[in-house]
């Protein structure tokens, strides 16, 4: 396809361009440009999804060379779903961020350039079909994310950024070593070229590469026990940043892990490895939820909730590995649905959290009294997002849980059912810990200020989307199936 308006390359070029322009425009500038451009990106992502549904997965040869000499981009249903999620989360958050930084200017100077590069990195990562190119997108993503964590300055955020930087660099280092081993074995880094070459009897170097790359991704996705860097990083950044990081950045590395597992390294996967991933996911769910419950800072509670919710994503691996195709399909659908639902809900939750902190002037759960009366829409958004995280119907989180529970029972792995149910109850416990406080009347001496309307409505839009996903999720699953027909 040689159309100038082809959405696929523009999804990468556009955010790179506006990110750079926002930098040239100067400190704090570029918000309006960003909102317009992200809206356009959303339209492009929708157009791309439409193309995929009509005519199947697409391969795009950058520069016209084609793999293995050049770099290929590839768009299938899974990539399109992630692209849609990215733009759908980014647009309300961009609106939110404009209001947020107007009310709380710390860190606003370079927010827009960083966000532009972050979105470019995400879109590029989802579309890449080249292992080395993915390395570059991972670094772009990692540095943008670290930069965003540090933008507000201060002891806690800088410490968190430092820790996060080491984690993400180590993760990419492991990935690059894997790429080096793969190139050294086969002489190519193109997924399309490599996939037919890798089979069950692959050399030790390939197994090592698979293990290293996966480990690197787990570190970057903050799967238990690699979650140590996440809560301070996500809990310390300004609210729009926390939302972007929790909703999207960790999903990108999960997406790569999923792709490697299901496609490139599928012949090497074993039930034992899949169960190990599931056990780590289960541990994340329980440990993250319990720690969320013990937090006294609102943002840290939400950040630990992310640690827990990441665990649900990894339950998909045991449920989709070496089981009947129908079971695997519904597990994959459930896992991806969870990624999307959590993305929307967690963005809404961090956004609502940010509004509450702006309104009360402090990040303290015990001082939330009066929020319910003064910011009903914000609290309602928090509650709706909580419904999705708890997996109650009708919500995207419920659809995800339904599909995962179904495949767990079908494949006889009832222990994951127990984990999911207990996790859901723990989630309810920490969500209601916040709601209960916010319902109480304002304590004497506390203040609860109004916040700009855009803050309230953008958070609500995200929360509502996470609920509507549960009612109208079928087209998303249809899109997901593009390029996966057996």
């Amino acid at each position: 396809m040689t159309d100038f308006l082809d959405p696929l390359p523009w999804l990468i070029m556009l955010p790179l361009a506006w990110g750079t322009l926002a930098f040239v425009l100067g400190p704090g500038r570029g918000g309006r440009l960003a909102v317009a451009a992200i809206a356009l990106q959303g339209a492009l992502a929708l157009q791309l999804a439409g193309q995929l549904i009509d005519s199947g997965a697409r391969v795009y040869a950058v520069g016209g060379w084609g793999a293995p000499l050049g770099i290929d981009l590839m768009a299938d249903g899974l990539a399109a779903v992630m692209l849609l999620l990215t733009q759908a989360v980014a647009l309300p958050l961009a609106v939110y961020a404009r209001g947020y930084f107007a009310a709380s200017p710390k860190g606003r100077e370079l927010f827009w350039p960083f966000t532009g590069f972050l979105l470019a990195a995400l879109n590029a990562l989802f579309l890449s079909a080249d292992l080395f190119n993915i390395y570059v997108t991972l670094e772009l993503l990692g540095l943008a994310a670290v930069g965003l964590v540090a933008i507000a300055g201060g002891r806690q955020p800088v410490t968190a950024a430092m820790r996060y930087l080491f984690a993400t660099l180590l993760g990419s280092g492991a990935w690059l070593l894997g790429v080096a081993l793969i190139y050294g074995t086969y002489g190519s880094v193109s997924l399309a070229v490599l996939t037919p070459l890798i089979h069950a009897g692959a050399p030790l170097a390939v197994t090592l590469a698979a293990a290293l790359m996966l480990a690197g991704l787990l570190l970057k996705t903050a799967l238990f026990p690699f979650h140590f860097w996440l809560p301070p990083a996500h809990g310390g950044a300004p609210a729009p940043v926390s939302a972007l990081l929790s909703a999207l950045v960790i999903k990108a590395t999960f997406y790569l892990a999923l792709r490697l597992w299901l496609e490139l390294f599928a012949p090497l996967t074993t039930v034992a490895a899949a169960q190990l991933l599931g056990v780590l996911g289960a541990a994340a769910i329980l440990w993250g939820s319990v720690l969320a419950l013990t937090q006294s800072r609102l943002k840290m509670l939400v950040a630990y909730s992310t640690v827990a919710q990441v665990g649900y994503l990894f339950l998909l691996f045991p449920l989709a590995t070496l089981v009947p195709p129908g079971t695997a399909d519904s597990a994959l659908a459930g896992g991806v649905m969870q990624a999307v639902a959590h993305g929307l809900a967690k963005a809404a939750m961090f956004a609502a959290t940010g509004s509450m902190i702006v309104a009360t002037g402090r990040d303290d759960i015990s001082r939330l009294g009066g929020v319910g009366a003064r910011l009903p829409l914000t609290l309602f958004s928090f509650g709706l997002a909580g419904v999705t995280l708890m997996g109650l119907p009708p919500s995207g989180g419920f659809s995800a849980k339904w599909l995962l529970l179904g495949s767990a029972l079908e494949s006889g792995q009832w222990w994951w059912v127990v984990v999911m149910i207990v996790g859901g109850l723990l989630t309810a416990a920490y969500v209601f810990k916040v709601l209960r406080r916010a319902f109480l009347p304002r304590a004497a001496g506390d203040r609860v200020a109004r916040v700009p309307r855009t803050l309230e409505f953008s958070a609500f839009a995200l929360a509502l989307a996470s609920i509507l996903l549960g009612l109208f999720g079928a087209p998303l699953l249809e899109l997901l199936a593009v390029g996966r027909e057996a």
Binding site: F132, Y135, V136, E139, G142, L143, V146, G147, A150, G154, R155, Q156, V158, T159, A160, A161, M162, R163, L165, F166, L169, L170, G173, L176, L177, V179, A180, L181, Y183, G184, T185, G187, P231, P232, G235, G236, Q295, R297, M300, R362, D363
Partner: protein, 106 residues
């Protein structure tokens, strides 16, 4: 064994040394150095293994050039963070206590 493979083997050793350093050294500057050693190890493996059959391969060489620039960028950011941390805490190491236990600084 070709010379290129020897480079790759040396790269494996460097990667392991860098990894150990990154995990074990508490001093931030040493951690950053360790990360660079780790990266150099990977670059050696990439170039070395890519040319293990004796032919010169420009593709991994170009990749390594890209990788070096990325590593420079990451190192610069890491150094800036480390220096800032020194300013803020007076220490060149990450605090070991639970970070969420710290008070929010406003």
């Amino acid at each position: 064994m070709s010379a290129a493979l020897l480079y790759a083997l040396a790269g494996a050793a460097l990667f392991a040394i860098g990894l150990a350093g990154l995990l074990l050294q508490p001093h931030l500057l040493r951690k950053i150095l360790a990360f660079n050693i780790l990266g150099s190890g990977v670059f050696l493996i990439l170039v070395g293994l890519g040319q293990r059959d004796g032919t010169i391969d420009p593709v991994p060489q170009a990749m390594v050039l890209t990788g070096i620039v990325v590593a420079i960028a990451a190192t610069a950011l890491a150094l800036a963070l480390a220096r800032q941390l020194l300013d803020l805490t007076g220490q060149m190491r990450l605090p070991e206590d639970r970070p969420d236990a710290e008070p929010a600084d406003d």
